[in-house]
Amino acid sequence: MPDIDVRLERVTKQFADTVAVDDLSLDIEEGEFFSMLGPSGCGKTTTLRMIGGFEEPSIGTVYLGGRDVTDLPPYKRDVNTVFQSYALFPHLDVFENVAFGLRRKKVPKDEITARVNEALHLVEMTGFGKRKPSQMSGGQQQRVALARALVNHPKVLLLDEPLGALDLKLRKQMQLELKRIQQEVGITFIYVTHDQEEAMTMSDRLAVMRYGKIEQIGPPEDVYETPATEFVASFLGASNLLDGELGRQTDGNTAVQLAAGSSVTVPTDRVPHDLYDTQVKVGVRPEKITIEADRGDPAPGFNHVTGLMRMATYIGVSHQYKVEGPGAKELTVYVQNLGAAPAPSPGEKVRLVWHPEHTFVVKPSAPLTQEEEVE
């Protein structure tokens, strides 16, 4: 089992009248690419800043490599940060920006030159040493900011929405780049973002946060395939959710009685134990559903609901359908564009079919507020 690199123990951070982080405990393993994901105001950045030493927890303890660093200022912690705004020093050129940390540690001159060049090489910015930050594009500044942090060989690298200011294409490219660099240097990365796709692309594990608490933590595929709450189900990817109540259990399956009448089944091991006898939401991801005409008998052993095709959108790689399902709920279906069957047209009655293994049951959450949506 790998060593724990960062440990937060029952950490709470209270600002004047808000609790930004609420009794949060977290273990991050050495060499892990860990993401904290959540809407605006969920406490992810505050958590990161407490690890970096820029905020002091109101209650709780922060450990770095087993050592209590709760009261250490940032300049005494063996972590480095890539800031959202890059925060490159505008009066220093690229070389001096990257060398800043090494100079503070009184590293010998030759070694500084070698390490700075190595770091610039790592982020593919060789030859930019003499440039001033303002003479570079956002993507280039981003790379320099990364080099400036990595050159110190920190124990942990903290990244606060570092790609937020870049355009989509560059962002995608930098995501892969960051992952490559992390694997190359083998440092623990803690990455804060509100972009779920970004978090899934890069992370070994991610934590979905809301209201200063962790809603769910785990590898991206676990969190995606088996979300724990309605919030996670809708924040991480798209979900179709129907109101229901848990019913009978028969040989490894649990029936969920839908509020709209029919019922679906879920493997019992996919049902959290604390959800019995409560209102639940039962969900399925849009790409797990197949659409067929509502004729004849449905295939046994599958979940299905019937609905009315409302809108078909052609996206190129896929078709996206909006179907009015049970209880007038709008359901979304993605179908890969294999070019075979003709697409169902609006107004047709259709049957949506999916495997019970792809069904999940979650606790209902409060809907996302407007403040949470702005970032």
């Binding site: 300049y75 480095n80 020093f89 505008p90 800043f100 303002s134 003479q135 594009s137 993507g139 280039q140």
Partner: protein, 299 residues
């Protein structure tokens, strides 16, 4: 895309919407404000030009005559021929330098405190600085004099310096504060993140970045100090400064050396201001130009 390019597009869009080419409405009134501004500039600059000009006037005696009698460099060569004037200038330069250094240090720290920290009395401090700038010099001068008399402090270079520091602090603080308010504090966090303690962070990051503001404040302080007459005259005692000497001499006639010294002080001040401006420009301008060209050539 550069700002001008955006504007050009907007203009193009506006033109495209009206199909028939409109006759450009160029009215003569568009010359009013530029002409007026030109006149004001002449008004502002002519005393300086006169001063520079009279430094080259070939007058007969030591006293100035306001008739142009030909070009000469004699007054530049004999700049220090009047010992009292030379001493007064030396005093002024010394006082201006010392009071500027002290006022700049104090004023910068005040500005840092006002921008960075929320504390009780912050607004009072703001008001006091405003009062200090707005108060009539004659009142400050008289008040300082009675203060020094009460303390039993003999008037001289020291009291002049104290007085000049007093009226310069607010100017420096206001100038530096303007520079600081746009300061990105994440730069300081970045420095600390990279292992710099608060002291190093200040010297390596904060100070270099606000230096143009500090220099601007210092230049202002120097300019205010070297030509201050009212407050100085109250607190000078036996010491003469350049403005005091010129004022005293004006009653009988000003020697041309005064114009030369004025010209030199003016030139010195203007060059410092110009250098400061150029340094700031160089930091921003080519940067922007190059960034748009260099954008994404790697990534």
């Amino acid at each position: 895309m550069s700002e001008s390019a955006v504007r050009a597009e907007e203009v193009a869009g506006a033109v495209a919407t009206s199909i028939l080419p409109r006759k450009p409405q160029r009215r003569w009134t568009r010359f009013i404000l530029p002409t007026y501004t030109g006149a004001v500039m002449v008004y502002l600059v002519s005393p300086i030009l006169v001063m520079i000009l009279y430094g080259f006037n070939k007058t007969g005696g030591l006293k100035v005559s306001f008739k142009w009698q030909g070009f000469t460099l004699a007054w530049y060569r004999g700049l220090f021929d009047i010992p009292n004037l030379t001493q007064a200038l030396k005093n002024s330069l010394f006082i201006a330098t010392v009071s500027t250094l002290i006022a700049t240090a104090i004023g910068t720290l005040v500005a840092l405190a006002l921008v960075r920290y929320r504390f009780r009395g912050r607004q009072v401090a703001d008001m006091i600085m405003f009062m200090n700038i707005a108060a009539p010099e004659i009142v400050l001068g008289a008040a300082l004099l009675s203060f020094f008399v009460t303390l039993g402090l003999p008037r001289g270079v020291l009291t002049i310096i104290i007085a000049h520091v007093m009226f310069n602090i607010a100017y420096v603080a206001v100038t530096v504060r303007a520079r600081l308010s746009g300061f990105d504090t994440s730069l300081e966090e970045a420095a600390q993140d990279l292992g710099a303690d608060p002291w190093t962070t200040f010297w390596k990051v904060t100070l270099p970045l606000i230096f143009p503001g500090i220099l601007a404040g210092a230049l202002l302080a120097f300019a205010l100090s070297i030509d201050d007459f009212v407050i100085t005259s109250f607190n000078a005692g036996p010491v003469s400064t350049f403005p005091l000497w010129v004022y005293a001499a004006a009653r009988v006639g000003v020697p041309p050396q005064v114009f030369v010294m004025g010209t030199l002080i003016f030139t010195f001040g203007v060059s410092l201001a110009a250098i400061n401006l150029l340094l700031q420009r160089r930091r921003v301008r080519p940067a922007l130009a190059e960034a748009s060209g260099a954008a994404d050539d790697v990534s």
